[in-house]
């Protein structure tokens, strides 16, 4: 294969560009390291009013409640649902979930099996979440993000046959290294690389891409150590391994499978990455153990009015009905998603109200599919990790826990955004699950035989959020004005939507900590002069 320098750089650039675009979508905006500074310190007496109402018992709300109560405030929390946690949520055997249109799904999983409809992993650099897990005794285990033995799949590549990640990754790297070595030796990169560096570059490409002495990426014992052998090494008779043949570069390039190669390499997905043992809501349960006595459940907030020195909130008791209940406090931390807040009676300053009204909520759907046995482990040697596909399910994630166990296992059978998510959202759960099983069966033919039961959560149908996470119309312009507690404000806003880590639990916690730090300044003498 011959390639001009322009073509070579173009190909690499195209790859990087496409991948970068994809990550921008997949990582939900700017995936930055957390700015968590350690346990918050709220010193000083709240002499300017100690009554705080927290609206919402998700992670943002419970963080605020826990820390403010510890700092000496009288805290009360109002929560729409019958339990705490918000989107930090796990569905397990015996649970029921009712969509906004009244359709109830009974989760019929085997004991111990679960699905996290919302957040499902905690990057090592989400220091806030990890610190609260440590403080509150939440046990964590590794989440397998990258598995070289999982699959990459496109319907129109390799006849629809899924390809092992290690084959695609090793061959793509090897072929690119070979091309670059060739270009260097042919003098095509002379303008870019000094003569002294050229040899070093070639040597590095041999190491990086597993090239032979002629700088070629070929079938060999060495390349097979990375991509796998055609016959693996054994003992006794037939013990010698048989090398495998790499895919040719043109086929690989055209397959488009390379688009997922860097998926696990953003700092939000690199190793180490964690999950709570037993389900994500172990974090919610741990917070609730601390602040449960402060929470009023089944409380649908209908108004939030600040007037000079106080905040007055009205809520409906969803369980017992009756007239709205009114509560008054000195301060309020409102973590209600803007999709809901925008429909409430409130008197936030107009600049904030404008953003509340114009923020929209993205849809997403997740499927939890239980199978009679762990065929992905037993038949395919896949232990945790993620298979990516261009099918409407987008991915299949294998459980990062209870490996080698007998009995049933639950897959994340799809995690979908965009046009496909909207179409799934318009289906009833049984219909959507039927499609998820169909698509998954094209990657794992064991699906139809082994399928046991399934649930799906489409976030636009979740009654207490009306969507997955908030998206700003103009974040750069509006962000500072919304997250700042103004001099006349008695209300401060918090939640994932008020962070640069949208949809991540870390964003909710960091937003909450910043909100209560501002509130505390106002409520103590340190803010008296402001």
């Amino acid at each position: 294969m011959t390639m001009t320098r322009r073509e070579l750089l173009g190909a690499v650039g195209m790859t990087a560009g496409s991948a970068a675009m994809y990550y921008a979508m997949a990582s939900l905006g700017h995936a930055q390291d957390s700015t968590y500074q350690g346990r918050i310190s709220l010193t000083g007496e709240p002499t300017n009013g100690r009554r705080v109402l927290v609206l919402g018992a998700g992670l943002a709300g419970m963080t605020a409640a826990l820390e403010l109560r510890d700092a000496g405030y009288d805290v009360q929390v109002l929560e729409y649902r019958e339990k705490a946690g918000g989107r930090c949520w796990t569905l397990r055997s015996g649970d029921t979930y009712t969509d906004i249109d009244g359709v109830t799904q009974n989760v019929d999983f085997e004991d111990g099996n679960y699905i996290n409809p919302g957040p499902w992993r905690i990057p090592y650099n989400h220091h806030g979440v990890l610190d609260y897990c440590k403080r509150l005794g939440v046990r964590l285990e590794p989440f397998i993000q990258k598995n070289h033995n999982a699959y990459l799949h496109r319907s129109d590549a390799f006849g629809g046959e899924p390809q092992r990640f290690r084959h695609v990754a090793t061959d793509y790297r090897g072929h690119v290294a070979e091309l670059l070595a060739k270009a260097t030796n042919q003098g095509m990169l002379d303008a870019e690389v000094t003569e002294a560096d050229r040899e070093t570059l070639i040597n590095s490409l041999r190491t990086f891409g597993h090239l032979n002495d002629d700088n070629a990426y070929v079938e060999s014992d060495r390349t097979s150590q990375y991509r796998g052998y055609a016959r693996e090494a054994g003992g006794g008779r037939d013990g010698a391994p048989v090398p495998s043949e790499p895919m040719d570069f043109e086929t690989l390039l055209q397959s488009d499978l390379w688009r997922w190669l860097s998926e696990a390499e953003t700092t939000s997905h690199q190793n180490a990455i964690f999950q709570p043992v037993g389900g994500m809501d172990m974090i919610a349960q741990a917070f609730a153990r601390e602040v449960d006595d402060l929470i009023t459940y089944n409380a649908r907030v209908i108004s939030m009015i600040q007037n000079g020195d106080t905040v007055t909130v009205q809520y409906e008791d969803r369980e017992n009905g009756g007239d709205p209940v009114e509560m008054t406090a000195d301060w309020c931390v409102c973590t209600i998603p803007f999709s809901i807040l925008g429909q409430m009676d409130h008197n936030l300053p107009s600049a904030k109200a404008q953003v509340v009204d114009t923020m929209y909520y993205e849809g997403a759907i997740k499927f939890g599919l239980e199978f009679n046995r762990r065929f992905w482990e037993e038949d395919d040697s896949i232990y945790g990790g993620i298979t990516y596909t261009d099918l409407p399910i987008s991915l299949i994630s294998y459980p990062s826990t209870d490996y080698f166990s007998d009995g049933k296992g639950v897959l994340l059978g799809g995690y979908v955004w965009g046009a496909n998510a909207y179409q799934f959202n318009a289906m009833q759960p049984d219909e959507a699950v039927r499609w998820a099983v169909e698509y998954g069966s094209r990657i794992h033919p064991q699906y139809p035989e082994e399928f046991s039961s399934g649930v799906c959560v489409s976030w636009h149908k979740v009654p207490w959020t009306l969507g997955c996470y908030g998206i700003w119309q103009d974040k750069e312009r509006d962000y500072a004005g919304v997250v700042e507690m103004g001099p006349d404000d008695r209300i401060v806003l918090a939640g994932e939507h008020l962070s640069y880590l949208p949809a991540w639990m870390e964003g909710a916690i960091l937003s909450s900590l910043d909100a209560i730090a501002q509130l505390h300044v106002r409520a103590t003498d340190s803010g008296a002069g402001e």
Binding site: T104, R318, E362, D430, R434, P448, E449, L466
Partner: protein, 153 residues
């Protein structure tokens, strides 16, 4: 309060137990790549677009996307907040308002102009303005793809 308490649990159970049996049926037309069920004609349009909607015509577009929140009968839904009812809704009288909302999004509703072309938006606008007890297309005129295109700019 959740206003409706319909449950489809029985339906889910029936659909699930049927799966394995259906999968063992021989492939009926010999060419379908479907393994676990035989989709009917309209269903094949589900997910047929790559990043956009393959359905055309107002009713099909409504059913494929809008019905998820506004419900198949247009009645909307209520949770902690509401999805507005489209039934006999005077806000739909002039086409410009629903066109704008579909393109720009608002509140829980995401912008949908990225997955629908101008004709699909116009068709679904005219569909909701002439369904669910609404009859605005005659008096107020129908939305056109050109109207949608101008709103996009």
């Amino acid at each position: 309060m959740i206003s409706k308490t319909t449950t489809l649990v029985a339906g889910v159970a029936i659909a699930m137990t049927g799966l394995a049996a259906i999968a063992q049926e021989p492939d009926q037309d010999g060419t379908s790549e479907f393994r676990t069920f035989d989709p009917v004609a309209g269903e094949l349009l589900n997910f047929a677009g790559s990043g956009d909607l393959a359905q055309t015509g107002g009713e099909a577009v409504y059913g494929a996307v809008c019905a998820g929140c506004h419900m198949p009968d247009g009645a909307g839904a209520q949770g902690a907040g509401v999805y507005p009812s489209l039934v006999e809704n005077d806000l739909l009288a002039a086409p410009s308002y629903p066109i704008y909302l579909i393109l720009e999004g608002q509140g829980a509703m995401p912008p949908l102009g990225g997955i629908m072309d101008d004709q699909q938006v116009a068709d679904v606008v005219n569909y909701i303005r002439s369904s669910f007890g609404n009859d605005f297309n005659g008096e107020w005129g129908e939305a056109t793809a050109e109207d949608v295109g101008e709103t996009r700019q």
